[in-house]
Symmetry: D2
Subunit: 333 residues, 4 copies
């Protein structure tokens, strides 16, 4: 930590800061510059209250040196973490594809999806049971019944399932029924939920909040790892910016950066980032090109009849082409 | 709703859209322009699936005419809603001040705060029991014990209390202990929690998510009103933008706009918007000048020893001056 | 400057950085922490290339201690700068109001505006001659003729004028005709223009770019001061964020902050921030409450016939009420 | 255009709007809904003043149907525009690579760069002569001399050059010396400059402003096309968001979208988007995967001695590897 003093800070003010640090058993080093003094803090084994020092007389600014996350950091654990879900191994160098409808709508719909998803070569089936909807008047999902339907479809077809959890009260149910539990963007900082998921062994798909900093995203994952569950797969799903011509912006800078900063696998979600089916394939290709470990993508037997997000879901024909294009050895460049 | 067709849409494509609408019992009106046709949809008593139509051949764009919220809208309920908490009446034309420490830290701390807050003329005591913290290594609050301490302090001093709820599993406890329940920015779209709060009568202080659109903010309130609880006070607490010189930006455009669009009271939180104590007073004044119904502000007996957000909390002397300045008849202009 | 090394940086890498600094005649101080070493750089009279060091082996991050601006900083010049334009004195403690139409449209229109603006108590007349328009098909302003018209109106009525400059090639013309030259948001980083304006003595109204950082805004002003022109008034006019319910968000955090960081006067532009006339007054009040030194506001004799921004301009009756409300001794709180 | 009336708008107010439209020779169609009336405007051959109508009594909102751009739109010109610069053909299906140092620093530096860039297979040489720098105290470029040096290097080596123009006063010089003229992000809405460039035939590389909407970006290009110059190549170079862990975010949603909306070629700039050399290659690959027509990338003989942006420039060895990786037939997926 570096404490930057005002140009007009008095010697007494500077000494008071050093004294405060000494009282907290921290070593400090004065760094006189041409206009002002800075104070370097060393030997801090635990976090120092940045906020308290910021209030002291003569202090202009505090600069953090260390990131707050540890267990998710590649600096501390250099090897890739591999998360296994059924046959899929996130982080192993092969692309994992999670696919399925936005919402589970009926037994027929989810079963047909399970079959088509598996037949096309994707490794995991997704589908929403409890749906987070901006408006109370929108379809809220089939709930518990939906969870049972996707569980049965997964069993029948032989494909692991990934379902979004909305509430901490459903955690036992999800642990029992799901091969992978998704935390949606709106719950990325639902800390009670993260703590509870940290006590499971079930793999977690943690989506980035749509305005979460990379640091906050990694700290949300740190909550789960710190609880004891190391099976975390990150997911970049688009961030909210000033631009409204597409729903969100897929942040591939973050994907490239996180591959360097963290040992956790990370996948991308082009369906939610784009919000429209005709941009899903190019964004998926871009995600893999930048180094993502896989894709989560929405497909529905009849998008025209879908009860949610009809416009971003691929129909089965489009999905088959999508998988062929992703697996092709002849991309554009 | 208006459906904009491509310039090259065929007659068959246009007719197919009209047929789709008719099948859904909706009236449509073709609006031929110089380059393209648009189709106006009328007589829609219920929501139409925007997403399904967006997929149809020849459709370029869908434009919504009506907002999705109703119960929070001033168009439908023109009079100000007044929310009473103890003696305070949000929305009645007088400023309501909610004040207290960021976190409840001890019996002495919260009791001293309760006394000072009341003596200075604020009407409601705040304090955090369960704390939403970005890092798992930061102070997480006293939890249940903290809630008991602020409850006792409120009773002893005779001031109503407002506490943030973090998890749906604590809802009965909060309903019992709190005069007003706060939903924090990170939980603005925790829809299960909103639905549960809609079944209470306790006044709710709903904070805007740091990247929530005004429309999403109002729809989150709609969830609570739709559940049956009309006692909702909105709170603008700063939005996340590209600018990092202060923690967030207090969005007073939104406050001015929401006063026009909704009948619900709205207050501002200059402490979280600024993140530093020396900007709290000017931002509070600006909030009241733009038309907010009150302020929520942090004060602590000894900010230098605070376990969270030390730099944004006013000490008691600053808080007394803050209240005098707010109540003064001689503002700058 | 603080150089943070990787946890696994070797002694040789650390020494190489210190050697590099010594070669540049800078003193360095190693600050060993529990996990890594940081290197404090002191005695830097001039800027060090942050970018070169960032490339060295073992370097994780560089942290700047000093801001790059000097001449605009209150740390170096603690007293308020006062900028005089006619009778108006920006920064002197009284509110300065600049008012007039968005575009100059005719002799009658600008003359009527000049008279009404002066009669209502505003001190400076504004009006656009060369207009920056997003689309080439929108009204582009009367250009040179418009400049002549506002110049004549100002002379006839006896009120100083403020006009936006669009191009460095018009600089002599503007220096001759205008009492104050406005640099629009889109030109805030038109550095050639800033340098040229630095050589004049004419007061400059420098608008913040709609996505400019406070630091960049102050550095743009630094260009003008560094050229020799100290008569700079800053103007916050709304920033671009994810929120689209109003055109931009008036960033009053920045106004409160800049009053602390810089000695230059700063005013706010509620017309452009809101984009709609019914929000202009509350935002103007908020701007003054937070500490701005004045307001720039649009008014037009017949907004319904305005050739640009019709919806944000106050008509004359509204403008008279606006001035009364601003000058009233009985604001809401 | 669609005009949405308030729920409580009177018949007189609705009729007044229709009358206004009739006076402007526009046809209108009332669209009665369940709660309110909307008015569809048809037959508009030219733009209608959205702003004037927005002020009328009873009007709630105006919704635009048509985009303002035409000449850049794929709806009107469906075929890809191909822009030729030397041997390079932007938009023809092969990737064009523009490469070179951030700033031109000396004859030796730019000549060495020209040779290496050409030898590695890139088609165009870039280099900055007049540099847009945030701070007046940063290196401002060699100016006119720099332009001469890169011109000579290009001639000597036999490679076309692309240089950023900063000021309209240099336009003749640039037209004479450059094979392609770059408009930087900060000048994307320097409309006088765009108009002047519209009168040349020289190919223009137009960079997106860092907070420009896709619509504004296309309208900036429209200025140039409308002036008569059809040789425009767009460039996405990263947008400014709330995220600060990398300098900007490369917006590949925009690239995918613009390929659909416009016939103009578009390339990406991973160097400026990332701000650090180790993310340049993955972002470049992602850009090509999403469908960009080429890359502009920075390379410098000795990045450690670069006078600007040292950390984002590839050294020659890295650049050779970059070109091999881009041209390889075996990308990751």
């Amino acid at each position: 930590m570096l404490i930057v003093m005002h140009t007009k800070a008095t010697t007494a003010e500077i000494d008071a800061v050093c004294q405060y640090l000494e009282n907290k058993s921290l070593q400090s080093e004065k760094l006189p510059g041409s206009n002002r003094v800075a104070i370097g803090v060393t030997g801090n084994k635990k976090a120092v209250s940045h906020d308290q020092i910021a209030r002291m007389q003569g202090v202009k600014e505090i600069i953090y040196v260390t990131h707050k996350y540890k267990k998710v950091s590649r600096e501390f654990y250099p090897e890739n973490t591999i998360v296994n879900v059924g046959q899929a191994a996130f982080g192993s160098g092969t692309n994992v594809i999670i696919a399925g409808p936005c919402s589970i709508e009926s037994k027929e719909q989810i079963l047909a999806s399970a079959k088509h998803v598996k037949a096309s070569g994707a490794q995991i089936l997704r589908g929403g049971a409890f749906k987070p909807r901006t408006s109370p008047y929108d379809f809220q999902g089939l709930g518990r019944e939906g969870l049972d339907l996707i569980h049965q479809a997964g069993q029948e077809v032989g494909i692991p399932i990934c379902v979004e959890i909305m509430s901490i009260k459903d955690i036992d149910l999800y642990a029992q029924k799901c091969d992978m539990i998704q935390v949606g963007a709106r719950n990325m900082q639902n800390f009670d939920l993260l703590k509870a998921l940290g006590k499971l062994n079930t793999p977690i798909l943690l989506k980035r909040g749509m305005s979460a900093l990379v640091e906050e995203f990694l700290l949300a994952a740190e909550y789960i790892l710190d609880g004891g569950n190391k099976n975390v797969v990150l997911c970049e799903r688009g961030i909210r910016t000033f631009e409204t011509s597409t729903r969100n912006i897929l942040d591939l800078n973050a994907v490239a950066l996180i591959k360097k900063m963290s040992h956790l696998p990370i996948i991308v979600d082009p369906s939610h980032a784009a919000g429209r089916h005709d941009l899903v394939l190019p964004l998926a290709k871009a995600g893999l090109a930048v180094g993502a470990d896989g894709i989560i993508v929405e497909t529905h037997p009849k998008p025209m009849e879908a009860l949610s997000d009809a416009n971003q879901q691929l129909d089965f024909k489009q999905f088959t082409q999508f998988m062929e294009s992703i697996n092709s050895n002849k991309p554009k460049y």
